[in-house]
Symmetry: C2
Subunit: 319 residues, 2 copies
């Protein structure tokens, strides 16, 4: 079986945790040459096997072409050092723990070992590229490209330029992301948590609060979010949803009325900014009691649902 060979980008993924493995799986599934590096050599050993498994799952879920994925896997390799992983990279993807000092040290080094025209992106879910790259000589080629988990399935990638990021860097990273089947959304300025982290934080705080204050059970609030607002938003984002809800009267008139309810609710939402250790323990116990330990089986079902939804959205768009 032969497939057309698209342009191949040399990628180096630095950090072989869940997100790094996801990026490597996505790039390999698209036939790109991918080097994976982690300072923890044991993490690397298990990572390679998992990337192969995840690429296989993408093929099975019809999210990747068999021949292209085989070519990508044949080019998948482990770097023995940052230098060896990055020296011929077009794109270096940082995917280490969310820790500013750690990321700053790493970028300082990547700036030295990567080719001068390589783009260096950070997976940070909420730190600013300007801060992460503060010690780099060339800050024009740095950009946040934050995927969601699992990165090989959820299409959104938040692209957040730092103060010194060039528009050429933003354009190139958007192009590469599109080639990987991702949907890049560019933020106009840096903000803690980007936009996804902020939305997730707002939802999770309320979901924690509703459970800990005894309004609803863990599985019921999950089901409510899944089969209610998320389905609505997956079909039309929040602003469009209310624009459609307003109908012919127009959004202005509709909002006047809607805000009467919303202002009451905004005043009554959870507003705490910290969880006490005993609350973390209580929440953990409730969630573990609800979902137990069959993580692999549940995770596979989740990925199957995700892949089905993606396929459904694609076919609905073609209509």
């Amino acid at each position: 079986m032969s497939s057309p060979a698209p342009r191949t980008i040399n990628v180096a993924v630095v950090g072989a945790g869940a997100i790094g493995r996801g990026w490597a799986s996505l790039c390999a599934a698209h036939g790109w040459s991918t080097a994976l590096f982690d300072i923890d050599s044991r993490a690397i050993d298990s990572a390679l096997g998992e990337v192969r498994r995840r690429v296989g799952a993408l093929v099975k879920l019809k999210r990747a072409d068999t021949a292209v994925a085989e070519r990508g896997l044949s080019h998948l390799r482990v770097g023995r050092s940052q230098l060896q992983a990055c020296h011929d990279a077009d794109w270096v993807i940082e995917a280490v723990t969310e820790d500013l000092a750690l990321k700053q040290r790493l970028f300082e080094n990547l700036d030295r070992v990567a080719p001068p025209d390589a783009i260096l992106s950070s997976c940070s879910s909420g730190l600013a590229m300007t801060a992460i790259g503060a010690r780099c000589r060339d800050q024009t080629r740095l950009v946040v490209a934050h995927p969601l988990n699992p990165p090989e399935l959820i299409p959104l990638v938040e692209v957040v330029p730092g103060k010194f990021t060039s528009s050429a860097t933003v354009e190139t990273i958007r192009e590469w992301l599109r080639e990987l089947g991702r949907i890049p959304v560019v933020l106009k300025r840096e903000v803690p948590g980007n936009v996804v982290g902020r939305i997730a934080a707002a939802v999770y705080r309320e979901c924690i609060d509703l459970v800990l204050t005894g309004v609803i059970d863990v599985d019921d609030i999950d089901r409510a979010v899944s089969l209610g607002p998320s389905l609505g938003w997956a079909s039309a984002g929040p602003h469009l949803t209310y624009h459609l809800g307003a109908g012919e009267a127009g959004l202005g008139a509709f909002l006047q009325h809607l805000l009467q309810s919303f202002e009451v609710w905004w005043g009554s939402l959870a507003a705490w900014t910290k969880l006490e250790p005993e609350q973390v323990r209580a929440l953990t116990a409730l969630v573990e009691r609800t979902y137990g330990n069959q993580l692999e089986r549940i995770s596979e079902s989740r990925d199957r649902r995700l892949a089905s939804i993606l396929q459904a959205l694609e076919s609905a768009r073609k209509h």
Copy 2:
């Protein structure tokens, strides 16, 4: 073409706005006998046509069976008075504007005109049944059953018992909702906005804030929410998502780390509880400029995406 005839419930929908029309469409599409009433007789005239159109759309989207829907439409009628609409109802669905005094007066009257064993439900998105039904003689048969928009497509219905609602009422309403292909989720106590309104309010506040403070454009934040967190949550609710993200380390250890980011973001989220008139005007202008006036076309695309996602989830669950 013949179809098995399921148990038929006599439904009276009081209020022929968007939500009332949705309920009537859903009931008719399931072959149930439905009476529609509104004090505004012009609303009723346009409502009947729209219910027929929506039932047709459900058949076309493969969310309803042709023969069953035809039977339902043949039983669809308009009540000339509340009494005439409700006198033989098993289930009276209140779907009027979100206004406590209005709903209280209406329930006081419904309590008189409906058969003594009928269940009376309110579509309230956030008011308490206990308050709405305060003037009713029999409060054991009152319950909030709040759908999302459009009610005939989004499966979630929040069921919120009031202080005096009987468990028999809750059980019957859950059974009926399941027969209508809905997924009822029962709250353990009344809270402003139920759970969906609270989640929606938390998300919408942040989406408004991000647009008004120039972080991201209207269509980009909508796209980000649609193709990022909503897809994740549609496949696994927030608590399950982090449970899966934690992996073998366990949720407790994972949360310790996650909370370092989340506590920063919680502290930085929008916290206002009121929009100023000039902010409403600015928001309205931005949304209208982004999406324009082609509401019907956009709404049809949204419904097509929704129906495709529902079908995808159903087939993934059968797997």
